[in-house]
């Protein structure tokens, strides 16, 4: 078992492993995106109060969920790279940061677009908005630190420590802004609750979109990881052979 993992952790093997996994995430992403978007934007009924504006949740809510999820993936692989010094986990952690930042930005931007007609303002210093903004800063800081180092391995160690410090801080930041007067609505989707606050005709497309975002993340993560491996290993023989092969 351990042997299989260490074998996979070599960048060359990981490159081909990612390549094999890629279609298993790329095709479901395409299908789920089309189904989810059609279902959510066309089929699902309009809200009795917000009319069609509510439909932005099919992008906004999955993006907001992913913004935290990606950080967790990033911190987990950062921790793995600190503990086992595996290069593959360094690559995964590095590839997570720009994707996570993009999801966070998307959540903020769509929220702002929705906020203007609904709350009458583009921006409000509300708990969730503020902690999402701080999360974006954490991602940007991570990327800035990563690009400041010339040596990839030193960069990986430094950014890994920063990612773990960030994980300890995210709940603290979240709760410290929580007690402010909160304009944002409370969590609506609670799977374990018997009585759903959201009607099934709206909830199901949202779930499809959430899954589509997850597989999209996996797809892009695999692609970015493959790119970074090629960049790191560009001097090696197998990469040059791979280039000729193409």
């Amino acid at each position: 078992m351990l042997q299989a993992i260490t074998k996979l952790a070599s960048l060359k093997n990981f490159y081909f492993f990612c390549g094999k996994l890629l279609p298993w995430f790329a095709w479901p992403t395409l299908i789920l995106m089309i189904v989810g978007l059609y279902w959510g934007l066309v089929e699902a009924p309009a809200d009795y109060q917000q009319k069609d504006s509510y439909r932005i949740i099919y992008i906004h809510v999955p993006a907001a969920w992913m913004s935290l999820f990606v950080y967790m993936v990033m911190a987990t692989s950062a921790a793995a790279s600190l503990i086992w010094k595996t290069k593959a986990s360094e690559v995964v952690a590095n590839s997570c940061a720009p994707i996570g930042a993009a999801f966070t930005f998307l959540a903020l931007a769509t929220g702002s677009l929705w906020g203007k007609p609904m709350w009458g303002t583009w921006w409000e210093w509300d708990a969730r908005l503020t902690s999402e903004l701080v999360l974006l800063f954490l991602y940007l800081g991570y990327m800035a630190l990563q690009s400041a180092f010339e040596d990839k391995r030193t960069a990986a160690r430094a950014t890994a420590i920063l990612a773990i410090v960030g994980v300890v801080n995210i709940p603290i930041i979240h709760y410290s802004v929580e007690w402010w007067f909160t304009l944002h609505q409370g969590p609506t989707v609670q799977v374990l609750q018997e009585k759903q606050a959201m009607d099934k005709s709206m909830l199901y497309p949202l779930m499809v979109m959430a899954t589509a975002f997850k597989t999209y993340f996996a797809t892009v993560l695999l692609m970015r990881s493959r790119n970074e491996i090629l960049e790191r290993e560009s001097h090696t023989k197998w990469v040059q052979e791979e280039r000729e092969h193409l």
Binding site: L145, T154, L162, G166
Partner: protein, 226 residues
């Protein structure tokens, strides 16, 4: 062994204080910045007493935070450049403990003077005696957190030539909770509300930072030294 690491810590503290005494600008300049920057706000906003009173807690806390940020770059740099930091990692004593010692010296030179100077700023902003005392209390619990969390950022960037700008990008998001609790405690005190909850939360942040930050800083320094 415990005695000997205590002894090593004592020597380290003595050395750092001696160095600081001979290189005064390193810790005096952030203090001057603290006063100068705070004075700019009444000049920019206007001398209206009620407005100044209202924004005072936030401004004093933000300026304190920026002053702490300015002093971070020098925390490990000289020791990194002359190689003494590398010697410390090779010593048989727990590295995180020695790092904690260095952070303590940093706080004593930058954090403590901020607390002692804060009544002066409170007078500029027309804060009453009670609010000033609360401000000093929040700074007493809050500034060590600034030094401890800042040390992580300082350690991560110590190997870089132009790290000072990067430190602020890394550390400022992590300072958000301290700022919120610190500034709002003073604001609540001015409004006559109970602030024990705020103080306890800042103290909790301090306890957490005190236990975890030296370990993260030590790991970051080891990564920077390579």
């Amino acid at each position: 062994m415990i005695n000997s690491s205590q002894h090593a810590l004592k020597i380290l503290l003595w050395r750092d204080f001696t160095l600081a005494a001979r290189n005064k600008s390193e810790w005096l300049n952030p203090l001057l910045f603290f006063v100068f920057a705070a004075v700019l706000f009444p000049l920019g906003i206007g001398p209206d007493t009620t407005i100044l009173k209202q924004i005072a807690p936030g401004i004093i806390w933000v300026v304190a935070l920026l002053a702490a940020l300015l002093s971070l770059d020098t925390m490990f740099r000289a020791d990194y450049e002359d190689g003494s930091l590398e010697q410390l990692t090779l010593s048989p004593y727990p590295f995180a403990l020695l790092v904690l010692g260095k952070i303590f010296v940093h706080w004593l030179l930058t954090g403590l003077p901020l607390i002692l100077l804060s009544p002066l700023l409170a007078t500029f902003f027309h804060l009453d005696v009670n609010a000033t005392l609360i401000l000093m209390q929040t700074l007493l619990f809050g500034t060590p957190v600034l030094s401890l969390v800042g040390a992580i950022g300082s350690a991560l960037t110590v190997g870089l030539k132009r790290g000072s700008m990067l430190i602020s990008l890394l550390v400022l998001p992590l300072y958000v909770p301290v700022l919120i609790f610190g500034a709002n405690a003073v604001a609540a005190a001015t409004a006559g509300l109970d602030i024990s909850g705020h103080l306890m939360l800042i103290a909790a942040l301090l306890a957490l930072a005190l236990t975890l930050a030296p370990l993260a800083t030590a790991a970051a320094l080891r990564a920077s030294i390579g």
